[in-house]
Symmetry: C2
Subunit: 331 residues, 2 copies
C-alpha cells in the first residue's frame, strides 16, 4: 500500500517550514483511473465534497421537480456557503415555500463566515441561527425530499429514508460498499469511501449526458448548476467560488472539511478527488488548483490561482514572508 | 535521516480520518537528548515558541531592570496573547511608560482573538490596531531594549542591534549556528534551528538556577514569569493558558505558529520541543499534552488536557462526531 505523498509545501526565508501529504485520483466517466498519487484505496470521509452525491435522491425521486427547484437552489443544496445575505435569504425563502422554518432544520448554528453578516449580527445583538450554518442549503434539500417522501422530521438519523436513499446512491456512484459512516459537522451521516471511489463518482458527474438516463440527467443538471452559480456554492473570497469563476463556469469544484477537494470537468469527462492526510484546507486548495492547471482548465497565473498555488504569503504589515507551492515530484 | 512520525490522529465513526506527523525531542539542562521522535536534526522555524529566547537580550542588557519590568510584563514579552483587555491595557501602559505609543510598534494590526475585545471593536465601529497584535508584548520588550541601547526605530530589521543580539543569544542557547532566518507574522526575524537545538535551549531554561550566571538568572526569571502568569502568555480558552493552569505554575509552555510547541519543566530540569510537519495547531497541542502527561506533570484526565488529548469532537448540535488522540507508537 502506498503512503500519502508530499503534495504541498510552505517555504519561509528560503527554508522548508511545513509539508502536506495526500492522495489524489483522476478518473474518467467509466471509472478508469487516469492518474493517481499516494494510495487510491485510502478510505476517507468525503465530508462536504459529496454534497452533490447527497443531492441525487432529491433529483431522482422527483422531489426537486415537484418543488420547482431552480438551478440556483440546486447549487445551494450542494454548497458550503458563507452565510452571506444571498445565501441566508434563499434558505429562508426555500423553507417558507415548504411551509417550514428554521426550527425544522437539524444542522445546528454557527457564526456565519461572511464578515458583513457576522458583524451585522453582532451590531444587532443577534445570535446566529441554523440558517447561517454553511450546510443549510443541503438541509433545505433534505427537507424537500423528506416532505416529498412524507417521512418523519428527524431527517439526519441514519435509518431515515433520506439518508438510506443517499447511502444507496453513494454506493452506486462510487462503485463500492461504504466502509462505514461518521457524523458530520451538520449532524448528517457521511459515508466513508476510497479516494478512487470518490474520483469515480466525480468522473460520472463530469461525463453525464443531459439527455441520458434519469441518473445522468440528474448528475448533469447538478454539476452544471454548481458551475453556473459559483457565488452560491461558497461565497466571496472562498476557493470554490473564486476558482470556479476563474474557469468561467466550465468546471464544478467543491471542498470538504479535513482537506478533501473534488472537481468535475465535463469538457474532458473526468473527475478528480483528493485528500490531504492532515486535514489542512490551504493544502487541499493548492493541490486542487495544481491538478486543474495540469488538466489545462485553470490558468496558473490567474489571481484566484496565485492566491492558493505558488501563493506569496504576507504578514500583517504586508511584508512577504514565504510561499505556498507544490512539492517536488507532485505535479 | 528519520522522517516525521505519526503523532496525532483524528478518528470519526470508528475510522481514521486525518493523521499528523512530527518531530519531538526532550533534552536535559546539559543538552543531552533524553528521548526523541522523528528527526531531531530537522530544521524548523520556532516561530513564537522562541519568544523566551528573544527576551534574553532584554534581560541580560540590563534594559528590563532599568525599565523596572515586572514578572507580568516579562510574561507578556514572551506571549502570543489574545488581545483581551488585560493584554492590551498592559501594552498601552508599557508603551506610555517608555514615552512611546502605538505607531512606534512594527508588528502590524489584526483583529484580536478575544471574542469580547473583537465584538467591542465592531460595536464601537473601531478598527484593530497594532496593540491588538498577539505579539505586541514581545514588541514592547523590543522597544524597551531599543531605547536602552539608544538604537534606531526600525527594530525588526535584521541588522538592528536588537535582532543581532537575539541572533547571538539564539545560537548560544541552541548550541548551533542558525541555518538562516525568515520573517515572522509580526515582521521580526525568526532564526531557524533544529528541533534538538530548540529542545536544548528549553532544557537550559528549565535547569537554570535563580542564583547562577547572568544568563541563568535571566532564564530562570523568564521561565518562572511565564509559568506564574498563564493568562498573560495566551488568554482564556487557549492551550498555553489552560494547560499551564492545569500544572499549577510548575511548568512553562509556549506554542508557535505552524505547529511548534515547547515546554520547560524546572522540577525535572528538562525541556521539550516539537514540530508537527503540516503546521496544525490542534496536533501540536495534542502532542505537547501527551508528552507532558508522559513526564508526569500533567493529569491526563484534567479537563484542559481532555480538551486537546483524547478529545471528544462535537458538532454544532453538540453531537459526538469523533476523537483526537495520539497515534499508535507515539507515546
Amino acid at each position: 500500500m502506498t503512503s500519502a505523498v508530499a503534495m504541498v509545501e510552505l517555504w519561509r526565508g528560503g527554508l522548508l517550514e511545513s509539508t502536506h501529504r495526500g492522495h489524489a485520483v483522476i478518473c474518467n466517466g467509466d471509472g478508469e483511473v487516469i492518474e493517481a498519487w499516494g494510495n487510491p484505496a485510502q478510505i476517507i470521509f468525503p465530508r462536504s465534497s459529496c454534497k452533490i452525491i447527497q443531492a441525487l435522491p432529491l433529483m431522482e425521486s422527483g422531489a426537486a421537480a415537484a418543488a420547482g427547484l431552480t438551478d440556483a437552489q440546486l447549487a445551494l443544496a450542494c454548497a458550503s456557503h458563507q452565510g452571506a445575505a444571498i445565501h441566508t435569504g434563499m434558505v429562508r425563502d426555500w423553507l417558507a415555500n415548504l411551509g417550514m422554518s428554521e426550527p425544522d432544520l437539524r444542522c445546528g448554528s454557527h457564526e456565519p463566515y461572511d464578515r458583513d453578516a457576522r458583524n451585522g449580527l453582532i451590531l444587532g445583538h443577534e445570535e446566529p441561527c441554523q440558517i447561517h450554518n454553511n450546510c443549510s442549503g443541503k438541509h433545505s434539500g433534505f427537507l424537500t425530499l423528506t416532505r416529498h417522501l412524507k417521512a418523519g422530521p428527524e431527517y439526519v438519523e441514519i435509518d431515515h429514508p433520506v439518508q438510506q436513499a443517499i447511502r444507496t446512491a453513494t454506493e452506486e456512484v462510487t462503485g463500492e460498499a461504504s466502509a462505514g459512516y461518521g457524523i458530520d459537522g451538520c449532524s448528517a451521516p457521511n459515508f466513508a469511501m476510497s479516494v478512487q471511489g470518490l474520483a469515480q463518482a466525480m468522473g460520472a458527474f463530469a461525463a453525464a449526458r443531459e439527455t441520458g438516463s434519469l441518473r445522468e440527467r440528474a448528475m448533469h443538471r447538478l454539476a452544471h448548476a454548481m458551475a453556473a452559480h459559483p457565488a452560491l456554492v461558497a461565497g466571496e473570497g472562498r476557493a470554490c467560488t473564486e476558482l470556479m469563476r476563474a474557469m468561467d463556469g466550465r468546471v464544478a469544484i467543491k471542498t470538504g472539511a479535513e482537506a478533501v477537494f473534488v472537481a468535475m470537468i465535463p469538457e474532458q469527462g473526468i473527475g478528480i478527488a483528493l485528500k490531504i492526510e492532515d486535514g489542512s484546507s490551504r493544502a487541499a486548495e493548492a493541490a486542487i488548483a495544481a491538478l486543474l492547471v495540469r488538466r489545462g482548465v485553470l490558468d496558473a497565473q490567474h489571481p484566484a490561482t496565485r492566491k492558493r498555488l505558488n501563493a506569496v504569503q504576507r504578514n500583517w504589515r504586508g511584508r512577504e514572508t514565504g510561499i505556498l507551492c507544490t512539492a517536488a515530484g507532485f505535479v
